[in-house]
Amino acid sequence: MRKQRDMISKMPNKAVHYIYLITVFFLTITGFGQMPIFKRYYIADIPGLGWLAKFYVTHYIHYLAAILILALAAYMIIDYFVLQKKHIRLTVSGYVRGAILVGILVSGIFLVIRNLTGSRFEPGFIIFLDLAHLGLVMTFLMAAGYCLARKRSWVTLR
C-alpha cells in the first residue's frame, strides 16, 4: 500500500507535466495567432517567428496541440478519478483551473465543429463561442500566473 502511495505521490510524472506545459504554450500562442496581431506588432518579424503571421499554419498547429490536450485531459481525468482519488485531491485552485480548462475545451470543440463543411450554427452562437474561447483563455492565463506566483499546486496528498 505504501509502495503504491509512494509511486502515486510522484504523479503526474515530469514527462506528462512538460508535455502539458508545451501543449498549453503552443495552444496559447497559435490561438492568439488567430487574431491579426503578430504581424501588426512586429512579433512575426523576429527571426524564426514568421510562421506566427501565417493563419493556416497557426490554425493547423492549434489543431495538433488541441489533439494533445484532449488526450492529456482524458488521461488526467481518468488518472484522478480512477487511480488516485484515494490518495490525492484537487485543491481549490485545481478545481478553478480545471473548470476553466473544461470551458476552453468545450468551446474549442464547438469551434472545430463550426469549421466543418455543412456546419450550421447561429451567427450569435458563433460570436459567443469566439468570445468565450478567448475570454476563458485569458482567465486561465491569469489564474495560472497567480498559481505560479503563489506556488499553488493542482493537487495535494490526502
Binding site: 502515486i8 487574431m35 493563419f55 481518468i78 463543411t117 450550421r120 450554427f121 451567427p123 458563433i126
Partner: protein, 320 residues
Amino acid sequence: MKQEISRRTFLRGGIAAAAGLAASSIPGSAAVAAPNEKAQLATLLDISKCIGCGACVEACNETNAHKYPNPKKPFPKMYPNRVPVQDWSEKQDVTDRLTPYNWLFIQHATVNFNGEEHEITLPRRCMHCVNPPCVKLCPWGAARQLDNGISRIDSDICLGGSKCKKVCPWDIPQRQTGTGLYLDILPSFAGNGVMYKCDRCYDQIAEGQLPACIEACPEDVQTIGPRDEIIQKARALAKEINGYIYGEKENGGTNTIYVSPVPFEELNKAIEKGKGKPHLNPVKDTMAQANNLTTAMVLAPVAGIAAAVGKFVKLTKSSK
C-alpha cells in the same frame, strides 16, 4: 424561358433554405450536417454569353450603395506606423477592380485556343465557397455564412483586421479604413476599418428577389438555383459547348460556377491579375488540411483513457 426556370428553382431553393434555418434555430442542432446541396444556392455563369457591357456592375453599385462605407475623417492615427490606411472613399468610381465600393467587376481576356481567337469577358466577385475560410476563420464571427450558401461580412461587427482577405484564396474582401466598430474600441491599436465584398444581395434574396447582377444582365449570363442542379447544368453546358468548368471543385467547392469555351489555365494567363483582380488558378481546399485532423481529435481522448488504463494495469501488477 431560361430565366423563368431559373426563378422557379431559385424560389424552391429559398424555401429549402428557410426550412433549414428553422431546423437549426437551436444552437448546435444539425451541427455536423453534410453540405446541403439543396439549401445552398449557386450561380452558373456562362462566360460565352457575357458581352462585358457592365450592366451587372452598374446594377450591383445601385442596389448595394446603401451598404457602402461612409468613413469618418480624419482617420485615427494608427500604431504602429506599418498599419496601412486604406481609403477608397475618394475613388468610389473605380470599377475595374474590387474595392469596398465595387463588389463586382468585369475581367477581359484575349485567348488564342484551337487556332481561334476568343475575346472573353467575365464578371468577377466573391465565389461564395461551400466552406468559406473567410467565415470560418474570422476571429470574431463578423463574417457569416447563411443557410443559402451566401457568405457575408457584418459591417456592424467587422474590425477590419483583413484576416478574411488573407485566408481567401482569391483575396476578395477589400478594406475601408475609418468606419466600423473599431472606432469605438481602440482605434489606434486594434482593427482598421471594415472589410467589404459581394453578399450576393442577401437582402433581396430574403425577399424572394434575384441578386441585382442576375436581374440586370441583358444576356442571361447568370442562372441561380440549388447547387446540385446548378452543377448538373454546368456539366451539361460544358459538354454541349465542349467547355471548361471553374468553381465546382476549387477550394473544396464554391457556389459560383463558371463555364468557359476556353480552358481556365489559358484564361488565367490572359486576364490582368493583382490587387483587387482575382486569379483563375486551381485552388486546393484550404479548410481541409486542419479539418482532416478532426478524426484524430475525436480519437485523442480514447488514447488518453487507454494510457491511463495502461498505467492502472501496470500499478496493479507492481503492487502485488
